[in-house]
Symmetry: C2
Subunit: 630 residues, 2 copies
């Protein structure tokens, strides 16, 4: 049930490997993780200044492998790298491999609440919190640290960005004592802790009357808080802030800029080399649906772009990959690349909030590949920013205390892929998914259909969901299952405005003007219906159901076709999975089979609700005469 992590579990013992090298955690870890391997090679370790930090080389010859690390962290990554290499069926002869991370900050955000619940968590309870306080199973937590380290994660936040009154107490001596123990568990694994902080900490924790960032007492509060925090956790990575977002307090509400809000904290953290990660997810969440001028995707850019260059050195603004909120299909945020004088973190969501709750199969590696390839200019894409302006890659974790960490066994591949692609964004979805399959189920060529199914899964999910980038046809609050008008008359700024003739939002210069936030090359691509990628057509354009797509189909027929296809393809997933039964453990087979059956119910519900919705609205039947309910 542990998936690929089973390979590096501490409770497996066969023969002890021969290991030599400097006394360090990587050496211990090497002994530990190779215990489980039959015919382990002789391994020697050393550190070399010639290599960058966190980098490593593996040089092998017959039964001997030498791991060189740029530092202890690099050595540790080398140990896991060698194990993975062997587990994936790699040979030792002529092994000569150098690895270094593309970006220094590879971060998981846990949206874990003090009560042990996980916001948008689909894999059980928190690994960190119980009954209002930090509280955990130490063995489990150490396994988790190893799991994350093995894929190169080197920073984690352990409390929800929606910090509540209890979460805010992490800044107190009492809270820090507990948190320091968590930091101690993760430190040997080269993982630093981030604290999600409440903008109103000066009031909640400090007893002040204001959180106004220009107030001297507020500045002093943050300075004192930083000093206190670093006394307990000297290597803390920094703070994470969600301000002025979804009913949370923030500088804008006080008449200050986001930069003023961030910089006062940055100055407090600077003496300790701490970073403030400042989220850009700001928009009007009390919009009136009757207002067609305000356009939610424009909001973050409008708030932040004018502040380009105004942030302190140790501020990293954290930008969700898309301008809305982790929908199945969105363009990239126009902030990415535009904020060229500001350090940026690219934020993904591994938790499948809008993408199937870890019930439906959804390969995020494929999704992220699209994000990386999204153009910034004619000459540059988003992947090119990584290690440049984009100084960090962050993801909302999909983990919890479920035995397999992720609820859906196959959802583990998304966690794996995130670590791997943050380390090396040039890796393809096919590569990382193949790696995960090899590590989890063995290097069995018969499992090729599983790879195909996983790589196809995002397309399939997209087919049975909201069409062509329009998004948000999802059940409010839970975000699982269809509700076409569920957000249509709400305050969340997410509208499709479908009537009996047309659907979609005109976000071009003739509409809300959102496209103007992009570089002219990208802007023009989206402005023009002919060059706009078809899968985002309804994000950028309002179109009649009768309009013809490139295939020659009408928009309406495309909606019907994709929804029938998507549900049918889930049926195919079930058949594929059944065909692989003999190559899988009973446990793995059963748990995934159960999820696939639940996905089938969901896919059919999506198919029928979406098709019925549009059939009822238009009265136009499916050309192929398939069953659409009245």
């Amino acid at each position: 049930m542990f998936g690929y992590h089973a390979w590096i579990q501490s409770d497996k013992v066969s023969s002890a490997p021969t290991v030599s090298g400097p006394e360090c955690f990587a050496l211990e870890e090497c002994k530990q993780v190779f215990k489980g391997l039959k015919d382990a090679p002789n391994i020697s370790l050393s550190i070399s200044d010639a290599l960058p930090l966190e980098a490593y080389t593996l040089v092998g010859c017959h039964d001997n492998v030498h791991i060189t690390g740029g530092d202890e962290a690099g050595l540790l990554y080398g140990v896991y790298g060698l194990l993975f290499h062997i587990r994936k069926g790699g040979r030792l002869d002529n092994l000569n491999l150098t690895e270094k991370p593309a970006v220094n900050r590879r971060i998981l955000n846990h949206w874990d609440n003090p009560d042990g619940s996980v916001e948008r968590g689909y894999a059980g309870k928190s690994l960190f919190w119980q009954n209002g306080r930090i509280g955990y199973n130490l063995d489990r937590l150490r396994d988790y640290a190893r799991l994350l380290a093995s894929i190169g994660i080197n920073q984690i936040s352990v409390n929800n960005v929606n910090v509540n009154a209890l979460g805010a107490q992490l800044l107190t001596e009492d809270g820090l004592k507990d948190l320091a123990k968590v930091a101690d568990v993760f430190r040997p694994f080269n993982i630093k802790i981030i604290i999600s902080v409440h903008f109103d900490s000066p009031v909640i924790v400090g007893g002040l009357r204001t959180s106004d960032p220009v107030d001297e007492k507020v500045a002093r509060f943050w300075t004192d808080a930083a000093a206190r925090v670093y006394r307990y956790i000297p290597d803390l990575a920094g703070f994470l802030m969600k301000a002025d977002s979804e009913f949370r307090s923030g500088p804008t509400a006080l008449g200050r800029t986001q930069a003023e809000g961030a910089n006062v904290i940055a100055k407090a953290l600077a003496p300790f080399n701490g970073t403030i990660y400042w989220r850009c997810f700001i928009y009007d969440c009390t919009q009136d649906w009757r207002d067609t001028v305000t356009d939610r995707p424009k909001a973050a850019y409008d708030y932040f772009y004018p502040l380009n260059g105004c942030f302190d050195e140790n501020v990293i603004i954290q930008i969700k990959n898309g301008p809305v909120d982790f929908q199945v299909r969105e363009p990239n945020s126009p902030l990415l690349g535009a904020m060229d004088k500001t350090r940026q973190a690219l934020e993904f969501q591994i938790a499948q909030e809008y993408t199937g709750h870890q019930i439906d199969l959804y390969n995020l590696a494929v999704h992220w590949e699209d994000v990386f390839e999204h153009p910034i200019t004619e000459a540059r894409n988003t992947r090119d920013l990584i290690g440049q302006e984009v100084d960090a890659i962050v993801a909302v974790s999909n983990t919890g205390d479920d035995e397999n960490w992720c609820g859906h066994l196959l959802a583990q591949s998304n966690l794996y892929a995130f670590g791997r692609m943050a380390w090396n964004p040039a890796l393809t979805a096919a590569q990382v998914t193949q790696e995960w399959i090899h590590l989890t189920f063995g290097a069995n060529p018969k499992l090729k259909p599983l790879l195909d199914m996983m790589l196809k899964s995002r397309d399939v999910f997209e087919k049975y969901n909201a069409p062509l980038g329009i998004g948000w046809m999802v059940t409010p609050h839970t975000h699982y299952g269809p509700d076409v008008d569920g957000y249509e008359f709400s305050k969340w700024g997410t509208y499709h405005r479908a009537n009996h003739e047309a659907i979609g939002i005109d976000r071009t210069r003739t509409g809300t003007g959102y496209t103007a936030q992009y570089h002219p090359y990208v802007r023009d691509m989206y402005e023009n219906k002919e060059t706009c990628p078809e899968n985002m057509l309804l994000f950028f354009h309002r179109l009649p159901y009768s309009c013809r797509l490139k295939s020659g189909k009408t928009l309406l027929q495309y909606i019907y076709d994709t929804h029938f296809e998507g549900a049918d393809e889930v049926d195919d997933f079930i058949k594929t999975w059944e065909s692989l039964k003999e190559y899988l453990s009973e446990e793995a087979y059963t748990t995934v089979a159960e999820r696939l059956l639940r996905q089938q119910v969901n896919a059919r519900q999506w198919r029928d609700v979406i098709n019925t919705y549009f059939y009822r609205k238009t009265g136009i039947p499916d050309e192929a005469g398939r069953k659409i309910y009245c």
Copy 2:
């Protein structure tokens, strides 16, 4: 803020009245409640066997009034009756009035949870529960008992019909000790306690492996439980059960009938003259919306009608007024009257779950008048059943620990009206609403516009809500605000099936056949579009938007018109209320004004969402050219 109850509050003292009569609680109460009255008459009390139980006469002459009660309860009601008579401006000269209740059981159900929350409660926290146990403010509870007694309520349940594990503990010695104290508070006020019980009490409380009603051990459990309960509360009214309903366990799930489920408990209660109230709110809440054969309104009749005559003497089946669930407009349940060999309770909901959450003004007396006048046969209406087959009138309470008990001050009139109309169903909405206004704001003729506004409020609410009896265009779960398709593709069996041409469910013989559950006279009335009351047209018939109503308007234009009117009329409410400011206390004026402004927002949201929904679907504009958002 206490509304009409202010008149009988214990903390008001002016002069002590001259009171004589037998030593009893009514005498004490008489002294108590007349303390607050200027120029109180001399009052003498006596009990007479010549009067029925709970009945009373008031005979007055100049400054002397004699109250005769059929029993102590009648005397108590006589005391309140006299106070109300005087407060309403009634004269004592030639006072000669006899009152007796139409029905012996006038019951409030509190949906209060052990954690102190109130399911569908809009008036604060529970008056009975705190932190998982019975816990209350004694003075407040005594005031509440007086409030209920003054309007003739004589039974109350104090725990939610959705009994949870904690609520189930009321059957234990530990739970009963606490509950007995509540019973002690209410007993002098002639109010008996009902316990809501969990069908699985034999398992949860008794540690058995089954709750099967034909199991001897289960029968013994209920016998033992009854003995235990009556040891603590010898005058307990009985138990209340919600079984086989909305994911709750019950006899059907075990292959037994509802009668088998009820009778085993009835037999246990019989030696103590206890009653089991058995709710009929049973339907398939996991329906597939694609299934057009199953029809939720049919369910209760299908379950219960075949069991007519199979219930023990001390079973009362509790029937919601409509066949669905307390919508703004429904026909009556076909069970009412049909179950002629079974004792029936008619269940209302004072809590404004679907009728505005005690934010929107909604006069339920008007609503109940309609229910009473619903025909059973050509010769008989529902009012005629009361005191006959209908042996109890029950309502879900709208109260909580808010200072004015009901959240909305004017919502107090619904509590008042329920008590009055349960006592005397011949009272009109206009009468009871006028009484409440007099008692609350004084007998001021300038308040006539308030009476008009309250009496109109149900029509206004209905206008801006789901049209013509179709119901359910409400936000799922919360049940406040519009969401036209919110329940359309769900499992709750509540569909309108609106497409671009037509809307509604055919429930006649050509459709689901629901109409056949009524007496032929009523059936034929609903079958025929011409005789079906227009306000229930879409409950019974599927109609094109183009069809003409009696007014000559199309159905679509009727929808537009009523929605514009409804919202405009809320604007008028605000003007009316403002015009009455000089006759009202600052506190009363302000609190109601605040609610009316919130109602205005809600009414406009309903108006615009409903109109936009149908405009988008049909493309047909408003004939009057008013603003419909695109």
